[in-house]
Amino acid sequence: MIIQRYLLNFILFLFIVFFQIYFGMVLFLSPVLNFALIFLIFTFFYFPLPYLFFLIFLTAIIFDVLSGLFWGMNLFVLLISLGAGILFTRFLEKSHLFPRLIIGQSIIFIYYSCLLITNLVLKTPYISFIIFQQFLITSIFYLLLSFLLNKIASK
């Protein structure tokens, strides 16, 4: 039963990453919804940390190959943001909706703040509006998905 759970999650992970790669493919700079990050946040709530780190590694490799400013950038950003999420669970209960919303939104905020800072330091002399747009759409989608899943679970 446990193996089945992991297997299902991993298949879903592969599907979502694949979906992200082929749906989000853009040559123009544009706001793209970060499905992979949202999936990692939900995995963080329901699965143990070693498995989460395994998924983080896989996501980071794919994102570093396709869109990193430097090799390892996505690994660091994901580790920092989800690491912060782990810290938050020391103060907040991750089995309830409201704390989950706070933790998830904080992870998304830290993730995009790290991206923004990296871009600011390494690439552009201005604050990228596209990163801000991505942050907004990802956090709104996460919010909606959390409410939806909570409603489904409570039925």
Partner: protein
Amino acid sequence: MKPKNNFHFLLLLVILIITSILLFKFYFSQEKTLKPQLVYGLERGGLVGNYLFNFKNWTNDLLHFNSLRKQLSELKYENIKFINQLQNLKETEEENTLLKNVLKIKDETGWSIVSAKIILMDPSGLTGSFWINKGTKTGLKDGMNVVLEDKILVGRLIECFNNYCRGESIFSPETKISVEDLRSSTLAIAEKDIKGNFRLKLVPYESDIKIGDILITSSENTNFLKGLLVAKVKKSGLSSDVSSLKEFILEPLLNFSQISSVLIITDIIPSS
């Protein structure tokens, strides 16, 4: 009982640290191996990707039903307009021939060109990077310019492996291109703004740049060859900082729907 627990905890901690170090070491030492292998794997998975693309287009059409209907009526109206404009086609044709002569497209450049397919693009929408299906085996090298058939600048190659190369498009955030107005030969620098649009900034007020002018790369570029098509002047306005300077918003000539295959100029590497 307690010292035993502490010992177990310490042992676990040591194992965790060693594993983390090994993982990090593996991750950072395998960059050159992982990149081409992953691109190969994703390219093979491209078949499913194509189905997803079709599905994406289908859902997109479904979600934008009203706008499609609106577009249809607009197209009908435009169709009538085009029939009326048919009379002016001869003039346009002449203008095109003139432009082609000025640009000395294809025939007169004498560049060696390799064609390649774009197989993957940036899924984060932040870097504008892309992967093509040709690499060092076909003679491609870092820094080579990537263009479309009409000499429209796409970008340049950043890193090359045996069978694949990664390129960076002109939409990359830090892109600055030295451009020249094709009509008036005025020089300026096109750069990205905060929203990702191309702009000509700090252009002297008396400079001869008009809406609709076509901009090509000038010889001042370190990364791009001279004479490649970049953008069209879309809007003009006063610079917010200094009123004696003008600012222009540009419309890139690089059309997203065109990009499935690209050409790489192999005999001249601008940065080398």
